[in-house]
């Protein structure tokens, strides 16, 4: 229950995947439409980033790696936001479980935007057929986020241009 930003804020989680880049583009456009601040967050998950489960804790988590993450993230943001240059963008990298990092920032946000990766032919699957479940981050955010959650699909790979990857 802290002070609330008067203009509102759109929170988007970015993990470097194509789906999250699509989510970022969507969120940037939405922020512009609504005149809201765009809050881009990337969680540095120590466990996911560690080279192996038996590596000493903190391996690969040096300051240089952190800085690289930030610059890569900023490049991604520039790409998503650039054309008209929406100025109200905040980029943040934080260490922690992605779900916790995102949910900690969700209160007061107008919405939380996440990408979802889909397997090939996903949209064509018949209804009721069990599919790979939503990623744990999106699933937990859908359960626990106090704000609307927007799931943006990974852009499809123009099927008309490339009918199949097989052969």
């Amino acid at each position: 229950m802290g002070p609330q930003v008067s203009a509102g804020r759109i929170l988007v989680g970015v993990d470097g995947s194509r789906a999250s880049a699509a989510a970022l583009r969507w969120a940037a456009a939405e922020a512009q439409i609504r005149g809201m601040r765009l809050h881009v967050v990337h969680a540095l998950d120590q466990h996911a980033a560690a080279p192996a489960h038996y590596a000493p804790p903190g391996a690969g988590q040096d300051a240089a790696g952190h800085a690289m993450e930030v610059s890569a993230l900023k490049a991604l943001v520039r790409e998503a936001v650039s054309p008209d240059g929406w100025p109200a963008v905040q980029v943040e990298v934080d260490a922690g479980l992605p779900v916790r990092v995102l949910l900690a920032r969700a209160p007061g946000a107008a919405m939380l935007v996440l990408g979802s990766t889909r397997s090939v032919g996903f949209a064509d699957a018949p209804a009721g057929k069990p599919r790979a479940p939503l990623g744990p981050v999106a699933r937990d955010c859908l359960r626990a986020a106090p704000c609307p959650v927007v799931i943006v699909a990974e852009p499809s790979v123009q099927p008309e241009a490339e009918p199949a990857r097989v052969g």
Binding site: Q4, V5, S6, A7, G8, W26, I33, R34, G35, M36, G108, A110, M111, S116, R118, F122, A123, D124, A125, A127, G128, R131, L134, A138, R139, L142, R143, A145, P146, C147, P148, V149, V150, I151, V152, A153, P155, S156, P159
Partner: protein, 158 residues
């Protein structure tokens, strides 16, 4: 079935309505969003004859389609009088709600659903309809939760 958001044609925001509170919150969110983007809201309600597993239907004489339409227009009336008139079209579909929403939302800007509808237990993480939509829709899916009533986008009136 690879319809992507087409900006050339009419922009649509599809919203699933079943009369539940989260679905009404979803409808009002969709209306607000449509006003911002100039899209048309397409409210969809789907109905199915309840499964009876071989027993005769105990409630014959009920016009489910009619009932669905009534639920939908009540929900729209609830939302519409709170807001400036937006372009809302509605559609009553016979069939599985999740499938209907995925089909209707092909080529739409957005699909908006409540986090749970009727028929889920309250503890459910996400209603089965919402879950199916999140997995299968080709457009972005917005999941609106009703709890914490009034937790709308603050600053939306800016």
């Amino acid at each position: 079935m690879t319809a992507r958001a087409q900006n050339g044609s009419e922009r649509r925001i599809v919203v699933g309505v079943d009369g539940s509170e989260p679905s009404k919150a979803a409808l009002s969110w969709a209306v607000a969003q449509a006003r911002l983007t100039g899209a048309v809201v397409e409210a969809v309600i789907a109905w199915e004859v309840p499964a009876t597993y071989g027993y005769p239907v105990p409630v014959s004489g009920v016009d489910w389609g009619d009932l669905a339409q009534q639920v939908l227009s009540e929900a729209i009336a609830d939302v519409a009088d709170a807001a400036a008139p937006a372009k809302i079209s509605y559609k009553v579909v016979e069939g599985n709600p999740a499938q209907a929403l995925v089909e209707e939302s092909a080529g739409a800007d957005l699909l908006v659903v409540g986090n749970r509808g009727h028929g889920g237990f309250v503890e459910a993480l996400l209603g089965s309809t919402g879950q199916h939509c999140v997995h299968h829709a080709t457009c972005p899916v917005v999941v609106i939760r009703d709890s914490g009533a009034g937790h709308r986008a603050e600053g939306g009136s800016r």
